[in-house]
């Protein structure tokens, strides 16, 4: 009986040693295997609840009217919000009063089913984005695109977009993930009386014209894409390099790292920060590390809750934080600092996010607390999500220690993501950390989105009439100098009031096989397969 056991063991080992299935070298080189911890839960990005992974898919499968260009940051590529090129549009012109955008469509563009792209399709798609109950209308409203009568068909290849006021973000909003263009004839076949925009059908089907065609889609497992050989939406009309893309869900970060290091997978963008040093030394993998130019990590104080309703208390917290230690412990210094600036009241330029003159100064913190009427400090809680625990946990420990030194007693609270989001949305946490990224990284847009109005993304629930006025003026401002002046004032006001403390822009770390080239950081923080190539 003992021998039988041994034999089984030996048989098991022998089975493991079998040869792997033959894969032709040719097709493997033309295939990109991307591994991710997340799931694509819909093929229609505008569906409420769409995951970020599904944004990435949508950008490759669907075309938009326009797309952002890209620029070099150091040795790496990142999207460039200041250059906008046509994707399904061949060209555009803006009327002298900046109220009418005339869009000329490509005449050679076709849908995946071979039928030509027409102005009728574009009109239907734009109508859907302002009328359907999807995520698109609130986004497009930031570009003053709110009514179907703003979109008019001039001829089969020309469409006009008319604005009530010259909104500076109207064109940029036509580049974002939500503003996809649909094959309206195909979509209408699947529309019902209850669902005139075919939203149910599009969750699992596509009506697209983009660079890749969905070959198979198993949510939570894998999605396979094949190149659209008739795609014309690329820059210079070039086809993407990879013929096939395999998007695979691999939940365990260590396994994803192993796959890349062994050369079995080609790309991953969500590995643990602690894995990066090993990856940088790896023989088969390389790390492309790009600052998330449109994001920021922050520590927010709820300005409607005592004692954080007092700007002096908020400034005291900003002076007590151990920035450098947190930056090293949480991010291994992999990012761009948004603290420690040398200016004091007026920023050097109108860009945002930019470094804010916050410095670690416990003496100043104590002085401010005393002035605010808290010479002996107070007690509060500091919360973060389990999803961000890897970076937030060491940060929280350092914060607790540093704030303790100036008399603020902190209790650390780690919350499951869904609970944290609910508390955040209901504005029930006094002090917490979170990250944010804006799709449209224009200074006015940041302040409009994160620091005005009673809405979810006003993290600090900050109310400032002056900020509201400034954003309103900047939005419709056509004079660049005046716009820049507004923006500088916004940054000044923000710094003086400190509704939240800017920490840093974490790096976007993409780990890929050495042979993969051209990785570009995109505003939606996902891999853009269209620009990748194998060299």
């Amino acid at each position: 009986m003992r021998r039988r056991v041994l034999l089984q063991g030996a048989a098991g080992a022998a089975l493991l040693a079998g040869a792997s299935g033959p894969v032709s070298a040719q097709s493997r080189a033309e295939t990109l295997r991307y591994v991710t911890g997340a799931t694509i839960n819909t093929l229609d990005t505008t569906m409420p609840g769409a995951t970020r992974e599904s944004f990435g898919l949508s950008m490759c499968v669907y075309d938009r009217l326009f797309a952002f260009g890209r620029k070099k940051i150091g040795d790496n590529w990142a999207f460039d919000p200041d250059t906008i090129r046509g994707e399904l549009a061949k060209s555009y012109s803006i009327s002298p009063d900046s109220k009418v955008i005339t869009i000329t469509l490509r005449t050679d563009a076709t849908w995946h089913d071979g039928t030509p792209v027409t102005a009728e399709d574009v009109k239907w798609s734009l109508d859907r984005h302002v009328l359907a109950k999807s995520l698109a209308p609130p986004q497009l409203s930031t570009g003053s695109l709110t009514r179907a009568d703003q979109f008019k068909i001039v001829d089969p290849h020309t469409v006009t977009v008319t604005l009530d006021k010259p909104d500076r973000l109207a064109l940029a909003n036509l580049c974002v993930c939500y503003t996809v263009m649909y094959n309206s004839k195909l979509a209408k076949q699947h529309a019902t009386a209850d669902d005139p925009w075919a939203m149910e059908w599009m969750k699992t089907n596509t009506a697209a014209s983009g660079a890749y065609i969905v070959e198979s889609h198993k949510p939570g497992e894998s999605t396979v894409l094949r190149r659209n050989e008739k795609w014309v939406g690329g820059p210079d009309g070039k086809l993407p390099n990879f013929k096939r893309i395999i998007i695979q869900t691999v939940p365990e970060p260590a396994t994803r790292a192993n796959l890349i290091e062994r050369g079995d997978a080609d790309l991953a963008i969500d590995l643990a920060a602690s894995d990066m040093p090993t990856m940088e030394k790896s023989a088969k993998a390389k790390v492309v590390s790009i600052p998330q130019t449109n994001g920021f990590t922050h520590i927010t104080m709820n300005t409607t809750m005592a004692p954080f309703d007092n700007p002096k208390v908020r400034k005291a917290v900003a002076a007590a934080l151990p920035y450098d230690d947190m930056f090293k412990a949480a991010l291994f210094s992999r990012g761009t600092k948004l603290y420690d600036a040398s200016w004091s009241t007026t920023p050097p330029d109108a860009s945002f996010p930019q470094a804010i003159p916050n410095k670690t100064d416990p003496a100043l913190a104590k002085k401010l607390l005393a002035e605010a009427g808290f010479p002996n400090g107070f007690s509060t809680t500091f919360a973060f999500t389990t999803g961000q625990a890897a970076t937030a946990e060491p940060m929280a420990a350092l914060l607790k220690e540093a704030l303790g030194k100036v008399g603020i007693q902190v209790e650390i609270q780690k919350k499951p993501d869904a609970e944290f989001n609910t508390l955040e949305s209901d504005k029930k946490m006094p002090l917490y950390t979170d990250g944010a990224t804006a799709w449209l990284p224009y200074t006015y847009y940041y302040f409009y989105l994160y620091f005005t109005r009673d809405q979810r993304w006003n993290f600090a629930s900050w109310k400032s009439t002056k900020m509201e006025d400034l954003t309103l003026d900047a939005r419709y401002q056509t004079d660049k100098a005046k716009y820049d002046g507004d923006c500088k004032q916004m940054i000044e006001l923000f710094t003086a009031e400190t509704p939240l403390v800017m920490l840093w822009q974490p790096n976007h770390d993409a780990v890929m096989a050495k042979s993969v080239d051209g990785y570009t950081y995109q505003f939606y923080r996902q891999a853009d397969f269209r620009v990748l190539s194998r060299v």
Partner: protein
């Protein structure tokens, strides 16, 4: 005898209905009492405001009072509709249809490996209690239990995939570049065998070995320990002494008389182990990217995605009932006295 078994099965299944109903109600309530609003979680897009959250809540039916929601949910279950998962965007029934065979295939294979290893080991230990063999078996079992499955899983991956390169990459049920078998039973090994695709069968099998071993290691201990204890008791009883006195061969005594009598408690524990494995193998599924039901339920739980979690708990309860009934039937075969009762 067959009629007796059927009557027993029928009675047991009927008696389990109130328990299942209780499970549904408790899970339903529990999910809604837990902090975290799924509508907020899933509306976390860059422009999701109050209105979008309300709209999502309405479309998920969460704007109604809890008793109304429960009533509606029970009606949907009766129609075989388990709702839609927000995490995968698919109807839960479809998800489970695809994922349950994956979990079952893994669990069954692991259980078979565990039984093939643990029963002989347990018998061996029982034959020479206190000997070096006994201690070795005890140590192996302790190790298997002590090391959490994700540690042993990662270690096995590290050794057999990363260092040695013997095992295929630990992602999913079959090599991503290979084609999947036609959907017949959902069990890849069976489906490949049915269509006679030896290469495919081999690919699926290779993918299965590591996770199955990881799970088997973990449940080795209860099975081997139970076999040992039960064998010890039986070996000390009168009928074994009689058998020895009658001069029967040693092998015949151990296998035909002692083991058969010792199997009853092992069967019980196997049933429990199987049900536990199916639900608790979430770590193995995560480590090996195995698209099973347990990791599916965990993802949903973290996202406060009600429908999949509720369906998962109901499914587990159902399987637990079925496994218990099956064990009952097996009891009757192992010990004919049971089925008379």
């Amino acid at each position: 005898m067959l009629a007796g078994i059927l009557r027993r099965v029928g009675r047991r299944l009927f008696a389990s209905i109130p328990a299942l109903f209780g499970v549904v109600v408790v899970t339903f309530t529990l999910m809604r009492v837990l902090p975290g609003d799924p509508a907020v979680f899933f509306a976390s897009g860059p422009s999701a405001g109050k209105e979008e959250i309300e709209e999502l809540r309405r479309s998920m039916g969460l704007d109604k009072p809890i008793p109304v929601q429960l009533f509606r949910y029970l009606g949907e279950i009766a129609r075989g509709d388990l709702g839609r998962s927000m995490t995968t965007g698919q109807p839960v029934v479809l998800d489970i249809q695809r994922r349950l065979p994956a979990s079952l295939e893994l669990t069954c294979t692991a259980l078979i490996i565990a039984l093939l290893l643990s029963v002989p080991l347990g018998v061996l230990a029982a034959l020479r209690p206190g000997s070096a063999v006994d201690h070795a078996v005890r140590m192996l079992c302790t190790l298997g239990v002590c090391v959490p499955t994700f540690v042993s899983g990662l270690l096995l991956i590290y050794a057999f995939y990363y260092l040695l390169g013997w095992a295929p990459d630990p992602t999913a049920r079959i090599d991503i570049f290979a084609s999947t078998p036609p959907e017949i039973t959902g069990f890849y090994l069976i489906d490949f065998a049915l269509v006679g695709d030896a290469e495919g069968w081999w690919a699926a099998f290779r993918q299965l070995v590591l996770p199955a071993f990881t799970m088997a290691l973990f449940v080795l201990a209860p099975l081997a320990r139970m076999t040992r204890a039960s064998m010890l008791a039986v070996l000390g009883s009168d009928f074994i002494r009689t058998a020895h006195a009658m001069g029967l061969s040693r092998l015949r005594i151990i296998v035909a008389y002692a083991l058969r009598n010792a199997l009853l408690p092992v069967l019980t524990i196997t049933g429990i182990v199987f049900s536990t494995m199916l639900g608790a193998n979430v770590l193995v599924e995560k480590v090996f990217s195995w698209p099973g039901v347990a990791s599916y339920a965990l993802d949903a739980l973290l996202a406060s995605d009600y429908a999949p979690v509720q369906a998962f708990v109901l499914l587990m309860a159902l399987i637990f009932v079925l496994v218990n009934v099956a064990i009952d039937v097996l009891y009757g075969i192992a010990d004919p006295r049971v089925s008379v009762a």
